[in-house]
């Protein structure tokens, strides 16, 4: 029965020949992931599925990008909003490598500083944080030096 379900799930999003499959994205963050990775402005063939049932996440999304292989620091940008994302690297329809995302030691852009009196919330400046704690996440703003904690994180 489970195999049957898996099969059905697989069929919902068609296979790719070469490229990367990003699985286990929380469904609600799919479009943020697409935007953070810049997938909305490249010409590669992309298929995605969302609101797929997932035991772990409730509802998950999956993205398949043809002929695209991400660098680690590129893909780690999504760790804040898709911490359990799994990457499958596909060559000739076969999974040749599996990867997980890791929260980087510093984060540029993506996240807003929690402090409304921070200069980054008042002028066009790319935010910059040092990750002082990974679980639960705690970010120290390079500018105002205040901490933004996991329950306060919001994205651009």
């Amino acid at each position: 029965m489970q195999d049957e379900q898996k099969k059905k799930l697989k069929l919902k999003v068609s296979a790719i020949k070469e490229g990367t499959v990003i699985d286990h994205i929380p469904a609600k963050n799919l479009f943020k992931v697409i935007s953070i990775l810049g997938l909305d402005s490249i010409n590669n063939q992309i298929t995605f599925g969302t609101n797929l049932e997932s035991g772990k996440l409730g509802y998950k999304a999956i993205v398949k990008v043809s002929n695209k292989f991400f660098e680690d620091d590129e893909i780690n940008k999504i760790a804040l909003i898709a911490p359990h994302a799994k990457l499958n690297i596909i060559r000739d329809y076969e999974v040749v490598e599996k990867k997980v995302v890791e929260i980087p030691d510093s984060i540029q852009g993506i996240v807003k500083c929690f402090n409304p009196k921070c200069i980054t919330n008042n002028e066009r400046i790319t935010t910059s944080f040092k990750v002082v704690e990974k679980e639960p996440i705690s970010l120290k703003c390079r500018y105002c030096e205040k901490l933004t904690n996991s329950n306060q994180i919001s994205m651009y």
Binding site: C113, N115, K117, C118, I119, T120, N122, E123, R124, I125, C141, R142, Y143, C144, E145, K146, L147
Partner: protein, 302 residues
């Protein structure tokens, strides 16, 4: 590479000690033409007469010329110019920028934009490192050392940036003991207590302001501000507790000195002013020598 002074932690312990040594030299001999031919910009995006006059006195005593503005209404910021553009423009003219800004992180950003050094003269509730260095110089001058001191921090320990920076800086020296005296709503934030515990530095917390001060070498007073309280009754209950009076100084150590970043409102009774333990006005005077020292260090003149 240019040097900036944005946060107190930008400087090492060696740099603190160098500033202290230079400040003593400038106190001995305040007028030195080290900035001859240099232009210094003092940009006050938020008025602060005391800090500005102290900096401008320091620059004048070093023989430098000053450009700038004392409040944002007379600057291009009032026309909607971004901080980025103001700093880009001013750094074309000046050899050093001293700036005060109401937004936190503004100074760090300015330092990134500017090819000339930036000294932070206060960025919102974030940092005011030259205040901390002049506090340290005052402590060194009156106690003869920055080691083995019992420091009482009194009043608003939650929002007071001066007490946070002083705590960070003094933690670099041997065996300090901190005593925090504050109402529960304004107590020292956890991050600083954790910092002290990790460094193995002793601290004690009190909500009463009584003869516990008999052990103090330094009593650092700050203002308990009404606007920090969401409940006005709570403010009424504490507003008169954290007032230092001359009678409270009877049993204190002979070497104790009372510091205050100023301006004070009523947290130090005027009857303390004539006590030889009162040091806050001399502390402000020390600010000029300390700022001469900081400018000379930042600009590699000494």
């Amino acid at each position: 590479m240019k040097k900036d002074l944005i946060s107190i932690t930008d400087f090492s312990k060696d740099e603190y000690l160098k500033i202290m040594k230079l400040a003593a030299e400038f106190e001995e001999n305040p007028n030195q033409d080290l900035l001859k031919g240099k232009v210094i910009a003092t940009l006050f995006f938020e008025p602060s007469t005391r800090t500005r006059l102290s900096f401008e006195t320091a620059i004048n005593r070093l023989g430098g010329k000053i450009i700038g503005f004392a409040d944002p209404d007379s600057s291009s910021a009032s026309k909607g110019e971004t901080l980025h553009d103001t700093i880009k423009m001013v750094s074309n003219y000046a050899d050093l920028i001293v700036m005060r800004h109401p937004l936190e992180g503004a100074a760090r950003y300015a330092a990134e934009v500017s090819p000339v050094p930036v000294i932070n003269a206060g960025d919102g509730a974030n940092q005011h490192p030259t205040q901390t260095l002049l506090d340290m110089y005052s402590i060194l001058k009156t106690q003869g050392s920055l080691d083995n001191l019992n420091i009482f921090l009194v009043g608003d320990l939650k929002y007071g940036r001066t007490v946070h920076s002083l705590l960070m800086a003094m933690s670099e020296f041997e065996n300090p003991i901190f005593n925090f005296v504050a109402p529960p709503v304004l107590e020292m934030p956890d991050e600083y207590k954790i910092f002290l515990r990790e460094k193995g530095i002793k601290y004690y917390e009190h909500s009463e302001f009584t003869d516990i001060i008999s052990a103090a070498d330094i009593i650092y007073m700050t203002r308990v501000q009404k606007e920090r309280f969401s409940d006005p009754i709570e403010y009424e209950q504490v507003k008169n507790i954290y007032i230092l009076r001359n009678s409270m100084l009877e049993k204190t150590r002979p070497n104790v000195k009372i510091l205050h970043p100023l301006p004070r409102v009523n947290e130090i009774h005027t009857d303390v002013d004539t006590s030889e333990k009162a040091y806050y006005f001399t502390q402000a005077r020390n600010g000029v020598f300390t700022r001469e020292a900081i400018i000379s260090h930042i600009m590699n003149l000494k």
